[in-house]
Subunit: 279 residues, 2 copies
């Protein structure tokens, strides 16, 4: 591309927020969903899916009815984490999302594949359609919270979720690297352009406790979640360490067995949602 | 979507490899590129860009002329890692990629933005076009190796690179989590469907040495790179630990200052490329 074309494309980006937003798609008739929260990072591998899973577990333990819409079409981790393998059942009106052992409803493209490691080699429009269909054609029923696990980047899936689904608020996930934070800032700037409110920033992989000597190790550098949140002017929700036990539970499909003080307060993260909705 | 539609979409995936591949786009007239290697994971955040960067540094130190095409359009990390900020210069025929301090040529969408944290909110077709233009409209000149840093997933950018660019081989990056390996297997299966040969698997974040007591900590679980590579029948290239010094150098744009025994052998990873090309 020449400089002009490059600039033209770049300017296209800047005007993205002035483009008329697609109308939000209403929920299916059988669905009564009180709150829709998307979990986003922009950067991959910061533990977005793990945090989505833990937030779901935490809200479920507080007595709320929770569902997870896995919008990471080409790299879905949610079913594996919850040990859910059942194929969604088609009952005429739509697809019934399978439930985890504690009753969290889950919809993910991996549940529609014969083998979980089959690749989904799709271009953007197909990806966007799948995300929309997970909203319109899935019988979520009554839910207090539907959590949407977004893929990395600011491409088709996040754009479709923010444009077409009635997202009430977003949780942003980062890790303590400047380089990660740069990409996360892109995501935060995107939410501003799209006009979706942000509940706050969570810092993952903040530190690790050495199992031998108890030393607190800043694996990816000094924690700076609080400072980063202030910089981008969003609330700081808290930080999570690297916990080998959690990794093992996620690998073995038992995230719901995780019992740590660290996640007790997670339900608090979304307490601001009523206030944000009134805005 | 109903079950049939879901299956239809799924079957669409399976036949992706039988669809006629787009013709490979020839290199620009001013470009003489001997080897094109893409670095892929499928999963985000496993350090794909860091490994792309280290491989480039390693090959450059061996005397090769190296370029990096950053195909992660919405989450580019390469320019920051190398401390490259210059805007690519337009010289009529195309864009001149800026060079790092050691002379590695770099093209990335972030170099075309006014601010590095401006989000690029693009749907698939625009992303695919940018990737193609980084091949056709950039004056790479004479290169021994062009490394392509792919974004996570198996969507538009990886598909465009494998369909339209003359990629000689891929390096696959993973980390020691079952859940990560599941997504990485999708990427490996995609390379098979697309008929692009794989040089091998690199395991990143294999372990961490406690700075206080010297304990070797398996942060994300027991290293199983070798076993995983055997399972998917590709060569095992080696593993890299979490190194706080490397993180710092990447954050400060000084990856070229990294001097570790760990990367000395990295040039070896690509030695098989001539054999793969003859296939």
């Amino acid at each position: 591309m020449n400089q002009n074309e490059a600039t033209a494309q770049k300017d296209g980006v800047k005007t993205a927020h002035t483009a008329p937003a697609e109308d939000k798609i209403p929920a299916g008739e059988l669905n009564r969903i009180k709150n829709v929260i998307a979990i986003m990072s922009g950067k991959g591998g910061v533990g977005k899916s793990t945090i989505t899973g833990l937030l779901a577990v935490s809200l479920q333990r507080e007595g709320y009815k929770v569902g997870i819409l896995d919008a990471d079409i080409t790299g879905p981790s949610i079913p594996r984490m919850f040990g859910v393998k059942n194929r969604p059942e088609s009952i005429g009106f739509g697809l019934m999302p399978p439930e985890s052992s504690s009753g969290i409803r889950i919809m993910s493209l991996n549940l529609l594949l014969d083998n979980e490691d089959d690749p989904v080699i799709w271009r953007g429009p197909l990806i966007a359609n799948a995300v929309k269909q997970f909203w319109t054609d899935v019988i979520w029923g009554d839910l207090d919270f539907l959590l949407i696990d977004l893929p990395p980047g600011t491409g088709d899936a996040p754009l479709t979720v923010m444009q077409s689904l009635p997202v009430d608020a977003l949780v942003i996930v980062s890790s303590p690297q400047d380089l990660v934070m740069m990409v996360v800032k892109k995501a935060i700037n995107m939410t501003r352009m799209m006009g979706v409110p942000v509940l706050g920033l969570v810092e993952n992989y903040s530190y690790l406790i050495c199992p031998k000597c108890g030393e607190k190790i800043n694996i990816f550098g000094e924690s700076r979640g609080k400072e980063a949140a202030e910089q981008v002017q969003i609330p700081y929700l808290g930080s999570l360490p690297v916990d080998h036990r959690l990794t093992e539970l996620c690998d073995s499909g038992s995230i719901e067995m995780y019992d740590s003080d660290g996640i007790k307060g997670m339900g608090e993260w979304v307490k601001d949602i009523e206030r944000l909705k009134k805005k």
